[in-house]
Each structure stands twice: as C-alpha cells, then as structure tokens.
Symmetry: C2
Subunit: 134 residues, 2 copies
C-alpha cells in the first residue's frame, strides 16, 4: 500500500465518521496536538478540544445535510499528506483540504478547511502542470 | 528571532507582495514543489505554475480590492509553520491559512486557502483551549 493509498484511506475514514456523526471515531482520526480547523463560514478553531467540540455541534444539528466527497488529489511529502477533494453538501460544492501527518505510523488529521466554490469544477482545474508531477 | 517571528515575517512578505501585485516577489515566497492554493470561490490549484498564474490573474484584475490582514495566530512545529489570519477584502472577512515550510533555512509558502467567514469574529474564537497551549 503506497503512502497515497494510506492517506486516502484516512481521508475516507474521516468522511465515514462525519457521515455517521461518530464523535469517537472523529476523535481517533484527529491528532491530539497542533490541530486547526476552518469549517465553511466559521473562523479558525485551534486545539483539539475546540475542534472536536465543533464536530459535536455539527453532529447535533438536525439541519445538517449529508456530505459527499469526490475528485480527490493527494500530495504526499514524507510524513505529511494533503488531500484535496470536493465536498458536496446541500447542493453546494466546497473545496476541502484535509492535512494528515504520520504519527507513530498512523495518518492523523492535523488540519481541515472547506471553502465554497463559486464556479463549476472542471477536472483539468486540479491537475498539476506537467513540470510539477512528482 | 523565534520561529514564530520568522514565520510571521514570511507571512507579512506574502501580503506585501500581494498588495504590490509583485509577481516576482510572490514567486520567491512560494516554494517550488508540492504547492497548493485555494483562493476564495476557486477550486484547488496544484503546482507552482498553476498557483503563480492565478496570482498573475488576480494582479491584473482591475476590480481586485485591497486586502488587509489581522488577528494572526501561528502554529510552529519543526520545519512547518501555519499562520491563520483574517483577511479583509472589499468589506468581506476571510479565514486564511498560510502554510510555510522551512526549506534551506527559509520559510517558503506551500499552501494558501482563504474562506469567507459568515459570522462576526470574536478574538476568543481563535484562542487555543488551555490544554493545547504550546
């Protein structure tokens, strides 16, 4: 299994915990220290307690729409792995960054940010330029 | 000078280049490899050429509003430095992430993402919880 595969598996686990409103699973996915999170429309949240509390609020929100994720792109560099994907929530497209760090052999989330996308997405938009393939 | 100071100086240089529409300065601030950027409303851009091209487009846009940055918070972990700040553009507040990596002794930008903030910002919102101070 390549690092890219392992990072994508961690990313899938994140969205699985989100879809199940599983705060225990979410707690296991996030790292314990040096974490940051910017939900759509929210200011930045720093620190594990603040971040997990925010997921608790989201999970308790009866109006929270289901979330789909697609169009994944991974940048793996040593013990860091960034996943970019498009989240679809309530018919809205969001550009999401999920930043994982390999800690004691496991990929743990250290940063999440999701931003509304104004324009339709073309697959070509997220491809690296030829000189940047690595 | 602490790492936090150096990272904040790199962050200031980024916004200085932005305010001057200085594409050469911007090119020196960004790392050459493994870079990613999500401008407000845009899908993710991967790779140095795509990212720098996007700044060229922004700098040539006659309707581009001036940008202020405030409320900085740094997470410095080894050779990584994340700066979170609030960008004010055209009366709109954005939660921005600027992720730097120390490469050959210099802090170079490897990721930028800015998201509109829906709610007013309180200073307390971005403080770490007591157990997360480090």
């Amino acid at each position: 299994m390549t690092d890219e595969d392992s990072i994508l598996a961690a990313n899938t686990a994140y969205y699985h915990a989100f879809s199940k409103a599983d705060i225990v699973g979410m707690s296991a996915i996030w790292a314990e220290d040096d974490v940051s999170c910017i939900h759509p429309g929210w200011p930045v949240l720093i620190g594990g307690q603040n971040v997990l509390r925010s997921y608790g609020e989201i999970f308790r929100n009866p109006l929270q729409e289901p979330l789909e994720h697609q169009k994944h792109h991974v940048i793996a560099t040593g013990d860091d792995g960034r996943v970019f994907c498009v989240e679809i929530v309530g018919g809205m497209a969001l550009a999401a960054t999920n930043w994982f760090k390999r800690i004691n052999g496991a990929w743990r989330l250290i940063h999440h940010q999701a931003s509304p996308i104004a324009a339709p997405i073309e697959e070509n938009d997220i491809q690296p330029s030829p000189k940047q393939l690595n």
